[in-house]
Symmetry: C2
Subunit: 113 residues, 2 copies
DNA sequence: CGGTTAATTAACCATATAGTAAATTAATAG
DNA sequence: CTATTAATTTACTATATGGTTAATTAACCG
């Protein structure tokens, strides 16, 4: 388990349950029971997922009476977005090549008329 | 190991060696030995990392004589970019709130003059 | 106080990962 | 054909992950 922040974030996102938890938090803060409800999984399993998300700083937790509400912390996603932006030109280039190819096809069709 | 494509991609990216390999491939295709060279790691370890990247469709491989050149396949990064774009508004909102707060500070300072 | 609800911790299990060294495959070069 | 280079496969290790059940902590309610 590499311990640099970017690896932690990617690792935390590499699980559909954890991504679903994040999605669920986009509508506002939730308790652990709220978050666990849609999943066919015991509470300790959810607690573990939340720890992974917390370690990656993707969520923040507080305490309200016996509840421990979680809320989304988008900063690490921003870091991933920045990392990935270095690669954006590669799929944009592919897209340009595709466009070019499609234009060539169209030109060819016109010539065939 | 969740087997949906997005989880595979995030998992593949959750390792600094694999991200460095991808970065190295941005300058063009490379052989396995080329890719292994900067790392203090044996060849089989690199082969394993390449398999993870290949399974995630982040690289594509071919054969040229006794070499097996790798090249970048950016499509899965595009998928991640699309996934993350759903969350973009969250850090943009935070930024807006910060801007708002800074403006309030400035207004306050003017009133204090 | 005693009972209930929310959540975590502890102990455990099966499987996956990340690496190694040694053996093997595949193609080239002489 | 033989030796060399590139890379993979095999077999093995240690550690991490993702889940379970049972026990424990923490705060509220009557």
């Amino acid at each position: 388990m590499p311990s640099d922040p970017l690896s932690y974030t990617f690792h935390a996102l590499a699980d559909p349950t954890r991504r679903a938890i994040l999605a669920s938090l986009t509508t506002g803060q939730k308790t652990v029971s709220d978050l666990a409800e849609p999943f066919d999984m015991t509470m300790p399993a959810i607690t573990k997922h939340l720890k992974v998300l917390e370690k990656a700083k993707l969520i923040e937790r507080s305490r309200e009476a016996q509840y421990r509400p979680c809320r989304l912390q988008p900063e690490p996603l921003k870091d991933i977005d920045e990392w990935i932006s270095e690669y954006r030109k590669f799929w944009e280039e592919s897209f340009e090549r595709l466009e070019e190819y499609l234009q060539q096809l169209q030109t060819k069709e016109k010539n065939d008329e």
